[in-house]
């Protein structure tokens, strides 16, 4: 009997980690090839349903203090002459090629790895928040528990182990594609090539050369948005249960 695979639900669930590891093949392949990857993220805003699964997966994966987020999905209602549509704008650190957060850091705690990931050395960080001010994308914050700068790391601890970032792995609509921008055969490169001329980045005028790209992003929503605000729906620090 034991020679046959167990068809039970339990064994199916047990096999899921192997499937997950398979999804993370692009990072593993790049590492195996020995070539230095250049990590990037493609957000297909047309596929995002605003479920905030990415927001929560990131918060849980990275043990963020309650009420603080490294990634989130803003939601807009855009009324045009032809009707009203709902638009999602997932946001995270853009891991810029020319990140404004790095030169301002007085102690050199913020740095960019060779694979393009922008990280904070918590040993050095003094919590002065100058990088928080300098980031054009509001991607950084002072962690309430550590009192130091915090931001998306592209889940570098997972990527280094050959896994995908938590937000990418959890995205139910497949709106987030993570991979090696320097590998022409990677899914992100193929998708970017296929969408050539229709991709965008947030706040291109900031000149920071983001490595997070968007398909289907309304140009009016790529930065500060001139819009009415349904203030009651805005998540504000202090409104939740976290401490000051």
């Amino acid at each position: 009997m034991k020679d046959h695979p167990d068809p039970s639900r339990r064994s199916f669930l047990a096999a899921l980690p192997a499937l997950t590891a398979g999804l993370a093949a692009p990072p593993a392949r790049a590492a195996a090839a020995g070539a230095q990857p250049h990590w990037g993220l493609l957000v297909d805003a047309r596929r995002c349903i605003g479920c905030q699964a990415c927001t929560m997966a990131c918060a849980i994966e990275n043990a963020l203090p309650e009420g603080q987020f490294r990634t989130s999905v803003a939601t807009y209602a855009v009324a045009t002459a032809t009707g009203t549509a709902v638009a999602m704008v997932p946001r995270t650190c853009n891991h810029c090629d020319d990140p404004p957060c790095i030169p301002v850091c007085p102690v050199g705690a913020t740095f960019k790895r060779e694979d393009g990931v922008v990280l904070v050395d918590a040993e050095k960080c003094v919590g002065c928040a100058y990088c928080v001010q300098a980031c054009p994308y509001d991607a950084r914050f002072i962690n309430h528990e550590t009192g130091k700068a915090d931001k998306c790391t592209f889940c570098s601890h997972r990527v280094d182990a050959g896994l995908l970032p938590a937000c990418v792995e959890t995205c139910v609509g497949g709106a987030r594609v993570f991979g090696n921008l320097d590998d022409a055969g990677s899914e992100i490169s193929r998708r970017l090539k296929a969408a050539q001329g229709r991709t965008a980045v947030l706040k291109p005028e900031a000149g920071s050369k983001p490595n997070v790209f968007y398909i289907g992003l309304d140009p009016e929503l790529d930065g500060r948005v001139d819009a009415e605000s349904a203030a009651d729906m805005t998540w504000r620090p202090g409104r939740g249960t976290h401490g000051a």
């Binding site: 999905v73 009324a79 928040a129 001010q133 002072i142 729906m233």
Partner: protein, 358 residues
Amino acid sequence: MNTTVEILGFAREPAWLPWAVQYFFLVGISAAAFFLSLPGLVFARKAWLAASRQALFVALVCGLTAPVALLSDLHQPGRFLNFYLHPNLRSWMAWGSFFIPLYVGGLLLYAWVCLRPRLAALAAGEENRHVAAVYRALAYGGHDNRTAVRLAAVVTAIGAVLILLYTGMEVMLVRARPLWNSPLVPPLLVVTAFGGALGMTALFAAAARTRGVAPVLYRWIAVTQALVLALLALWYVGGVTGLSASAAEVLQAVAGSTGWVLTLAWLVATTAVTLWLATRPPQGLVLLALLALHGAWIFRWILFMGGQAIPKMGAAIQAYVLTPTPDGLVGIVGTAGLFLAIYILLTSFLRWDERATA
């Protein structure tokens, strides 16, 4: 034309808290007050002597309080060591960590060489022999060494200029904050610092019942308020005409916000009232002093807390709410308490008013 409504947004809380307002307020006033001490104490201008003595006290009290407010904003004060262990010299803030000790050290040296004759006079007139011994030791002979005063003034002046420069540049270079990213921010910080320093000097003079300082303080407060109004007008014109992209962005972001309109109207109106009062014949110091101090403080509050309220992404203006916590109101009151304690200690120990000859 499209109409957009943000139906779900995520706001970030301000990362620079009222501690930052307190620091910029106090360190700016200290550096400016140091310069106000020069006419009387270094260049021996009689009309300035009494005001310059008070200005030196202002520079000392504010200069000793300011770094504490700055350390408090680091969440763990001991972290300041990393500024010296791992300096990133591409950052103005890193340079600031070297300018602060240069300035405060220079200021203490300058104050000491200026005060040596006074310390000797206090030692001579002190009945308690233990206190007299302290005065005598600090006087270190009590010589009025003008060369030493000038040299210390030069060192401190370099430090003070660098303080005013780095605080302005540190803010101005933040492109992500349109209210900060204006070449008019450094001059506005300097001019309001001088306005605040003149106001604080007037307040110290009123507390010490010093006479004869009103004409000079009134005149220069008027000059600073006129300059503030001119710079604000320049900023507004730049925004309206589009010559300044950052000012235009601010005006666009706050358009339709009653809170912002009232805040900016308050700033302009109170500055105009201060200017009007300062151009009247001098009558008392306290009201004008408080108005001048209000101008310096409210400008920094609007710049820092207001500047962080304008969203970088999304639509909602996130107004800061002052809470009775150590990061908020308690911090402001605490800084004021430290300020008052240093003031009382200094003025009790160094009685130095217009009746003093040394």
